[in-house]
């Protein structure tokens, strides 16, 4: 039966690796943990059951940009009974969704929204067929986007009638996996673990003397490599600078993408990329989540990511069609400074922590209030740091009232967190510096073994970037044609060149 649905609703002939096994267990009503590599069609594992099971499929999704894409993806199937609830909606829009909830087949929610009693109330009156946690690695203490709201997921699941649960992720080492199972209170569960290895992606790392060299090298690589390609930078500013350099020095179609653009502009750039109107996109890590473009040939890291997990996620956007693709990381010694500084900024330092606690005591400001938050900001805490501190004060140590005790406890936590992040950063640096097989090295960090040798594996195994031959560009020209012609092409039935 699921084969018929696959064909009729989704237009696919065959399941991809892992999908059938996961879906069958979901349909049997087990709690399922599934780790499927990026680009393997994870979302099908909950969308398809939505057409078999009776009731609402609730999907907890950690990232807003991802949520919008997921909703769009389902709408593209012709499905209208889908909606998303997140803090970016206006009160009116939230009401609209809440009022139409019983007509929905799929509902996406952000973890914060699940703290909303009205929503829980509405949900508890409905029949939920499936409780999905997408990007489940986020709910682990060891995960990277960890938010306190995740800790209550099991409780919430209970409150809405304890429907079967499906936890999905692309990357989770054994420690993270165990954490997820604990938080979700999985009992009689089924686990499906597939390798994070993407065999059709060849890995390259290149160390350069300075930034100028790095820019030169980037331009040389994208000029000779097949496109389309994604270039990851660590700051918004760099995406713009690099895109400008590329525009000046090549005739490639290039655009930049980051969270500072308006939402319509972000969509436009994203669709241009999907439509093969761009060769290269320079972006921050805001780009890519949920984007399913099969023919990305190159992922280039102009700055290296903060941890191996992010690396795997990001290179996983290449070669989803199974064809040979390249992942290139370029780095210089200077690149080490920025990520360290970013980690420091995520937490208050000792004097700042002391100042904040003293002021709170003096003014009687209660943690969790707006006033207390502004005290933290006034003392120089970044927003992330202030949020971290608020969480520690309200959720972790709510009973502790002595300033000195509080200080030493929180300080201890900060030390541990920083240590963890820095050790992850070192893991990336070690990986960059390794002279052994890079694939084996990254699989090791996920406690996996390399099963069989890949033909064009990595630079350490003797694979050369030059083996990738540039083919004719796929790009459709945006030539300078007059507006009248362009308008007729859009709305007239004049035969269009690519028809």
């Amino acid at each position: 039966m699921i084969d018929t649905i696959l064909k009729e609703t989704f237009g696919y002939e065959r399941f991809r690796e892992g999908q059938r096994e996961v879906i069958e267990d979901v349909l049997k009503g087990y709690d399922v943990f599934a780790m499927l590599p990026t680009g393997s069609g994870k979302s099908l594992c909950y969308i398809l059951p939505g057409y078999v099971l009776d009731g609402l499929v609730l999907i907890v999704s950690p990232l807003l940009s991802l949520m919008e894409d997921q909703v769009q993806q389902i709408r593209m199937l012709g499905e209208k009974k889908v909606a998303a609830l997140n803090s970016f909606l206006t009160p009116q829009e939230k009401d609209d969704v809440l009022n139409s909830i019983r007509f929905l087949r799929f509902l996406f929610v952000s973890p914060e929204m699940l703290q909303n009693n009205l929503l829980i109330n509405r949900l508890s009156m409905l029949k939920l067929s499936l409780f999905v946690i997408d990007e489940a690695h986020c709910i682990s203490q060891w995960g990277h986007e960890f938010r306190p709201d995740y800790l209550k997921l099991a409780q919430i699941r209970e409150a809405v009638g304890k429907p079967p649960c499906l936890a999905l992720t692309a990357t989770a080492n054994p420690k993270v996996r165990q954490d997820i199972l604990n938080y979700l209170d999985f009992k009689d569960d089924r686990q499906h673990i597939y390798s994070v290895d993407r065999k059709n992606i060849s890995l390259f790392v290149d160390k350069l003397a300075n930034v100028e060299e790095k820019i030169k090298r980037t331009i040389k690589i994208i000029s000779s490599q097949p496109s389309p390609g994604i270039i990851y930078c660590s700051t918004r500013d760099w995406t713009e600078r690099l895109a400008n350099q590329i525009r000046m020095k090549t005739d490639l179609h290039v655009a930049y993408y980051h969270g500072g653009l308006s939402s319509d502009d972000r969509l436009a750039i994203q669709y241009q990329f999907l439509n093969d109107q761009l060769d290269i996109i320079c972006c921050t890590n805001a780009f890519g989540m949920g984007i399913n473009k099969p023919n990305v040939r190159l992922v280039l890291h102009f700055h290296y990511p903060k941890h191996m997990n992010a690396y795997i996620q990001e290179i996983g956007r290449a070669g989803r069609d199974g064809l040979p693709s390249a992942a290139v990381t370029l780095y210089t010694d200077e690149d080490d400074l920025l990520p360290q500084a970013l980690i420091e900024k995520e937490y208050p330092d000792q004097p700042m922590l002391l100042r904040i606690l003293n002021r709170m005591e003096a003014t009687g400001a209660k943690a969790g209030t707006k006033g207390c938050f502004s005290i933290m900001m006034e003392e120089g805490a970044s927003e992330t740091a202030a949020r971290f501190l608020t969480y520690q004060l309200t959720k972790v140590f709510p009973e502790e009232h002595k300033s000195e005790e509080l200080f030493s406890k929180i300080d201890q936590t900060i030390k541990l967190r920083k240590q963890k992040k820095i050790s992850e950063l070192y893991e990336v640096k070690r990986w960059l510096a390794t002279t052994d097989c890079r694939r084996e090295a990254y699989l090791n960090s996920f406690q996996e073994k390399l099963s069989d040798k890949v033909p064009c594996c990595c630079d350490a195994c003797g694979c050369l970037l030059d083996d990738f031959v540039k083919v004719d560009p796929v790009i459709k020209e945006t030539q300078r044609i007059g507006w009248q012609v362009r308008l007729r092409k859009l709305l007239g039935l004049d035969k269009i060149d690519h028809e």
């Binding site: 919008e68 769009q72 593209m76 199937l77 012709g78 009160p91 009116q92 829009e93 525009r247 655009a255 653009l261 939402s263 319509d264 502009d265 969509l267 436009a268 750039i269 669709y271 241009q272 999907l274 439509n275 109107q277 459709k476 945006t478 300078r480 007059g482 507006w483 009248q484 362009r486 308008l487 007729r488 092409k489 859009l490 709305l491 007239g492 039935l493 269009i496 690519h498």
Partner: protein, 352 residues
């Protein structure tokens, strides 16, 4: 010399050092505050209101510094600037190469034009796909209003797809023909359709090889002028005139919205203030905001026709820049609140 610098100097000239760079910033952004609206009328710069929404503070400050260093403007303290003599000469000379795009003058279509554009982008994309039997595509915006509107528009349309597309094409061609080619180019380059995503404004400016901010001003001009053209000849534009349909009260802040519901129930300003435990002046601010946001909001309850015309006549005498002298001339029976309401109405459209 760039268009943007010319644009900036023109504004400095109009404000004559009486408003700060911040004031200019809010004017270009189209900040919906009583102060900004008031300024735009007082200094006769309504065409500039919301004419460059994409400007950043950083860029504006940069431009200001550059002009100051080239001795085109000089500080008169506290973020206020005036043109120097050489600045004035420079501006006049530049005025021979540049001119303000003519469409800016239709500033009362400012909010209509934005609404028009969002709906149009989506409808063109949808039609372009539908006539090729493509029902699955990713809409160019996630904004609810245009999505809902376009859905309703297509449902209500009496023509079949092909006829509808042909009619839309025809009306678009006719309306864009009234504009300079450069404006029409910028406009059309941003439209998406079947297997083709439109450019962002930034990309369009690069392709056409003009400054980004110039492109943005030209786009504003084009949208306002096209809105005006359609509005003037509704019979010639049976489809496009529907794209101008008024929006409801969405867009007001929650608190202002509350005031509006009370007003609709017939409560007086005093009653609302008492009930909501707010100052009367706050409620008055809300009403000024409503008056400029909702084109069909009737201010007759607060300002009689006779008073309206008296204030308007005084406003048209450009020399007056402050509320007090306006009141002195128009008559002390008129309140400042009434003057502000008239200004709000005058800034968004005509009222008689």
């Amino acid at each position: 010399m760039s268009f943007t610098a010319y644009f900036f100097l023109t504004l400095i000239h109009h404000f004559k050092g009486e408003r700060s760079i911040s004031g200019i910033y809010h004017l270009l952004k189209g900040k919906k505050s009583a102060q900004t609206i008031q300024d735009s009328v007082l200094f006769n710069v309504q065409p500039f209101f919301q004419s460059l929404e994409v400007i950043t503070r950083q860029d504006l400050n940069k431009m200001c510094n550059e002009c100051e260093q080239s001795n085109l403007i000089q500080s008169v303290g506290d973020g206020h600037f005036r043109l120097t003599l050489s600045g004035l000469a420079y501006m006049n000379e530049a005025g021979e190469h540049f001119q303000l795009p003519s469409g800016l003058a239709y500033f009362h279509h400012s909010s209509t034009a934005k609404r028009f554009w969002k709906r149009l982008k989506l409808t063109v994309q949808t039609m372009s796909n539908l006539i090729r039997d493509e029902g699955r595509f990713l809409p160019v915006t996630n904004d609810k209003e245009p999505l809902e509107w376009t859905k309703r528009f297509l449902k209500k349309a009496k023509l079949d797809r092909q006829e509808l597309a042909a009619q839309l094409l025809n009306e678009l061609q006719n309306s864009l023909q009234t504009r300079p080619n450069i404006e029409a180019d910028i406009f059309v380059l941003q439209l998406s359709g079947y297997k083709q995503t439109g450019l962002t404004l930034m990309q369009a400016s690069e392709l056409l090889n003009i400054d980004y901010y110039e492109a943005a001003v030209l786009m504003t001009s084009c949208l306002r002028a096209v809105s005006q053209e359609i509005n003037d000849g509704k019979d010639n534009y049976p489809l496009l005139s529907r794209f101008l349909e008024k929006s409801d009260s969405k867009g007001l802040t929650a608190s202002t919205h509350k005031t509006l519901t009370f007003i609709k129930k017939g409560l007086t300003i005093q009653q609302i203030a008492q009930y909501r435990r707010l100052k009367e002046s706050t409620i008055e601010d809300h009403l000024v905001e409503i008056a400029m946001y909702m084109e069909d909001f009737d201010i007759n309850t607060f300002v009689s026709r006779e008073v309206y015309h008296r204030v308007k006549t005084v406003l048209e005498q450009q020399s007056i820049k402050r509320l007090k002298p306006i009141r002195d001339i128009a008559g002390s029976d008129i309140s400042y609140f009434q003057i502000r309401l008239v200004m709000a109405k005058e800034s968004v459209g005509k009222h008689d």
